[in-house]
Amino acid sequence: MLESMLLYLAAALTLVTSVMVAVTRNTVHSALWMVASCFLLAVVFLFLRLQFMAALQVIIYAGAVMMFIIFAIMMLNLRVNPGRIQLRSTKTAGLVLVLFLFPALLLLLGMGRGIAALQGQVSLRALEQFGEVPLLANVMFSDYLLPFELVSILLTVGVIGAVALAKKRKD
């Protein structure tokens, strides 16, 4: 009971911090709210008994990725966003996205049908039987091996592209 209440609290705080990311003017403050949001999402994972996922969430998103973003903000010296944020062009697109994505997500959750739609291989019983890391590793390196490798190729392409863009041309 207490655990699920804390879970809902953490989830609500994640939402609040995510909204703060969007509405804050100061770029670094916005990035900090995003760190808080990533961290709180890790807390949500903890209450769902996914310790390993929580740790990776903190190390990769709250730690490494956000550190990169803050590095970029500081290098470009974007201290305060000047004037009003130009929302007009993105407002309609955002509205359309929200109107379509939110019902889609709710459908995915299987409104009225319980959480049957979400029952995959990572269930509470499987977690207790195999442990979290072996379970994830088994799923990731057998059933989803091809997508996993494709994602890593995609990331490598991204890195090579960045290096190619940053390299000085000799001409």
Binding site: V28, V35, V58, G63, M67, F71, M74
Partner: protein
């Protein structure tokens, strides 16, 4: 239930107070050892052999005036020192100082908590801790602080990688992410003999994450006049300073746990062995500070990206290969 809570509360207070006292005296130890190496006395005016110096420093920090620069970002300026002390103190929770002891007919574990993901917890929280220096530099509205903060982010992003790869070697050898299990797996042979390269990589990247002297880019006093903490005074500065020494203490504890067999050792009780090893590592860190000059900024980056990181990746592959065969 209440008994469990009581034990936990007593243990927490004990761990935090003993470790913080040790950290306070680390500042004196560093100045004394550096003095000894450089043929001078070091602090010797407050108390016998300067033993009350840390307390005098603390009182001085309390009594000094607090300044906040006019163009500082006040909230973040306040938040930064808090982050940089809170993160290393949080890491004390998972450090296994010893195995179980029996007192008054009851068994007590000499660690506060043993999560299954112990080592990942350490990596995660220590990255979060590095936001302290970054934000401190950014929020003070000072160009030196700013450059210190930018350097801090770059250092953290780079040296995290090689450190994580060194840790992966240990995890492969011990077959567990829990720090207590890692120590148990070293009952026979310590990890430093099984993975000497990983030990060196871990120590070097640990020093870089600590901002200690060969890598103290974010606060290089010759170029940045103290970098990210230049605008901080009084207790806020003391928190940064204390956070850095707590981090040094944690690095000693972690090196002991991951590579030097933790509490294992002959004759003496485990916890004494743990602190002997920890302080040996800390002594090494202070000793090398007096030995090596500060590296130039681009050399620090070259060392990581062109030497340590490829070496760490090859090392992980080799370790995985050997573990898979035997």
């Amino acid at each position: 239930m209440s008994e469990l809570l009581l034990t936990l509360a007593v243990k927490s207070v004990l761990v935090v107070s003993v470790c913080m006292l040790m950290v306070a005296y680390l500042t004196l130890a560093e100045r004394k050892i550096l003095g000894f190496i450089q043929l001078r006395y070091g602090p010797n005016r407050v108390g016998y052999w300067g033993l009350l110096q840390p307390i005098a420093d603390g009182i001085k920090a309390f009594l000094k005036e607090e300044l906040t620069p006019a163009n500082a970002d006040r909230k973040v300026f306040l938040l930064a020192p808090i982050i940089s002390i809170a993160a290393p103190m949080l890491l004390l929770v998972v450090i296994p100082f010893g195995d179980t002891v029996t007192l008054f007919g009851r068994e007590f574990t000499l660690y506060l908590s043993n999560p299954d993901i112990g080592i990942l917890f350490v990596l995660g929280i220590s990255t979060l801790g590095s936001y302290g220096g970054v934000l401190g530099g950014w929020a003070s509205g000072n160009k030196y602080g700013y450059i210190g903060g930018v350097r801090s982010t770059a250092m953290m992003v780079s040296y995290e990688l090689s450190m994580a790869f060194a840790v992966i070697c240990v995890v492969l050898l011990s077959n567990s992410l829990s720090l207590v299990d890692i120590v148990h797996s070293q009952a026979g042979v310590w990890n430093i003999f099984k993975a000497p390269v990983a030990f060196l990589i871990f120590l070097i990247s640990g020093l870089a994450e600590l901002n200690r002297t060969p890598f103290d880019m974010p606060e290089a006093e010759a170029e940045l006049c103290c970098g990210y903490n230049v605008e901080y005074s009084s207790m806020k500065f003391a928190l940064f300073f204390f956070g850095e020494y707590t981090h040094l203490f944690i690095l000693g504890c972690l090196t002991t746990t991951l590579f030097l067999g933790g509490w294992h050792g002959p004759l003496l009780p485990g916890i004494i062995w743990f602190f002997i090893k920890t302080f040996a590592v800390i002594f090494l860190c202070i000793w090398q500070r007096a030995t090596f000059p500060r590296l130039r900024w681009d050399f620090v980056m070259k060392l990581e990206w062109k030497f340590l990181l490829p070496l760490a990746i090859v090392n992980v592959l080799a370790t995985g290969f050997i573990v898979a065969i035997f």
